[in-house]
Subunit: 168 residues, 2 copies
Amino acid sequence: MTTPVDTNLDLVLKRELAVPVNLVWRGLTEPGLLKQWFVPKPWRIADCRVDLRPGGEFYTVMEDPEGKEFPTTGCFLEIIKEKRLVWTSVLHGNYRPAPSPATGNKECAHIAMTAIIELEALSSGTRYTAHAMHNAPEQKKAHEDMGFHDGWGTTVTQLEELLKQEEK
Amino acid sequence: MTTPVDTNLDLVLKRELAVPVNLVWRGLTEPGLLKQWFVPKPWRIADCRVDLRPGGEFYTVMEDPEGKEFPTTGCFLEIIKEKRLVWTSVLHGNYRPAPSPATGNKECAHIAMTAIIELEALSSGTRYTAHAMHNAPEQKKAHEDMGFHDGWGTTVTQLEELLKQEEK
C-alpha cells in the first residue's frame, strides 16, 4: 500500500535508476554498499549497522570532511524485499522512543521523520520513490533548507553509479 | 521475540487473567470492548478507533468525570493475534511522527512511550504482560508518578471483569 502524501508536510523524490531492482535493494540494505552512497561526498559514512527487521535498529555515523562525526539512530518499521523499506528517526531499536529534545547538534539538527522508500521494477531498471514524512510544516521546511532535494538527489545518483560498478 | 526490559527506562506489569487468550485479544483490539475498560473508572473512553495493521492509527479520547476530553493518537507497530500487540505514542497513523513538543495538556502530560502487550495462553486463562518503554529515566518517573502501576493495574482488572461478563 502506498502511503498518501501530505503536500504540507512531506517531501518526495522520484527517480528512474538504470539498474535492476534487486541491486537497488542490496544498495539500500547492505551496510557495505550503504556506506558508499548514503551521504553526499565528500561527507562519508564512518559506520553503519542495519538490523533488517521491524523494530531493528538503523545506525549510521555521518562524518564531515574534517572528520567530525554525527551518529544517527533510527528504527526499521516495514521491510518488503525489493518493494518497500520504512524507517523512522523518532524510534530507536526495538521501537524505543528516541531521546527528545534532540541532540543539540546544531550543525546537523535532528529532524523528526519517517522515510518510505518504494521500488518498482521497470524494463529499463527501477523506479525509486523516497517519501519523507514530517510532523509540521516547519519540520518539512527545515528538512528542505538542509538540502533535501539536492542531498537526497545527489545520494541517489551516487547509489546508481555505485550499483552500475557492482553490476559489472 | 520478547523485547529486553531496561529497568532504568521501562515499566512492566504482569498479571494472570482468568479468561481465555482469545477473549483477552478481543478486549485489546475491539473498540466496543476497549471503550469499557481502557481507563480507570470514573474516567471513560468517549471515542476510540483501532486500525489494526502495522502503521494503523490507534485513537482514543479519554474523558474525565467532568466531561473534559483528552484525545490521544498513536500508531500500531506489530500485531500478532493473541500473542503480541505493539503501539507507540511517538507516531501517528501511517507512521507519521507525532507533533512535538506535546500538546501542552498539563493535566494529561504527553509521555513518549512504546507499549508492548504480550499474551500467553495458560490452562487457567492468560498471562498478561504490559511493557512500557520510555526514552529517559525522567519519562519513566513521570509515567510512574501519573500512576502507571495503579492505573494500568486497575484497567487490567476492569478488562478481566468485563471479559468474564462477555464469556457468559
